[in-house]
């Protein structure tokens, strides 16, 4: 299967700071998703981004498919951004392979 490496594993930020999370893939993927897992365990879809750049409010993501990595940017972080962020990739319609996540803690 596809190996997914996420960094950093843990991140502590002061409220208002910016951050970048990274995801590397061992193989080419054409389905790439970023999720935020809330305190109740639900995976919330942030981005479906097999290539290119997307923005949604304070969040944006960029995937460079040819180099097999993706970045998630969080700007002006808020305490509600705390939680675990996962990236996952797949080839086509097949199952997703997940990274081990980045645990983000935003301190007021």
């Amino acid at each position: 299967g596809i190996q997914v490496e996420q960094s950093p594993p843990d991140l502590i930020l002061q409220e208002g700071a910016n951050s970048t999370l990274r995801c590397n893939f061992s193989d080419s993927v054409n389905n790439l998703q970023w999720f935020h897992q809330n305190p109740w365990g639900q995976l919330i879809n942030l981005f479906y981004i097999p290539s290119g750049t997307k923005q949604n409010g304070r969040l944006s993501a960029t995937t460079v498919a040819t180099e097999r990595y993706s970045l998630l940017y969080i700007s002006s972080s808020q305490t509600t951004d705390s939680g675990v962020y996962f990236c996952a990739g797949a080839t086509g319609a097949n199952n997703l392979f997940f990274g081990t996540g980045t645990r983000l803690t935003v301190i007021p």
Binding site: N30, N31, Q33, F35, W40, G41, Q42, L43, N45, Y48, F86, A88, A90, G92, A93, N94, N95, L96, F97, F98, T100, G101
Partner: protein, 116 residues
């Protein structure tokens, strides 16, 4: 519209008992996936249903695990003779047909299974 729903939200069982977990996908989503999230293994794929095709069972950890999808909609994951290592959160996801142009998967809230 409604998202993916799963039931029960929590299940506590005794070692050796059988359990059934249910998933209702988003209406119109022809593909359905089961994953599980455990402390030691992270998020891992279990089984994938696509329309009327034979399911991809390559992620099932043992023959105690099985799943069905009736009428192309609701799916049931069954674990027989549960073991303590089966304790995990079982997540279901669904997706539009690939002809819809996107392979984005949407997840339910999960069932937390605890085997005593």
């Amino acid at each position: 519209g409604a998202g993916v729903s799963q039931s029960p939200s929590n299940k506590v069982t005794e070692k050796g008992k059988d359990v059934e977990l249910r998933c209702d996908p988003i209406s119109g989503h022809t593909a359905l996936y089961w994953y599980r999230q455990s402390l030691g293994q992270g998020l891992e794929f279990l089984i994938y249903f696509q329309g009327n095709s034979a399911p991809d069972k390559s992620g099932l950890p043992s023959d105690r695990f099985s799943a069905e999808r009736t009428g192309g909609s609701v799916s049931t994951l069954t674990i027989q003779r549960t073991q303590q290592e089966d304790s995990a959160v079982y997540l279901c996801a669904s997706r539009l047909p690939t002809s819809g142009g996107s392979n984005e998967q949407f997840f339910g809230p999960g069932t937390r299974l605890t085997v005593l």
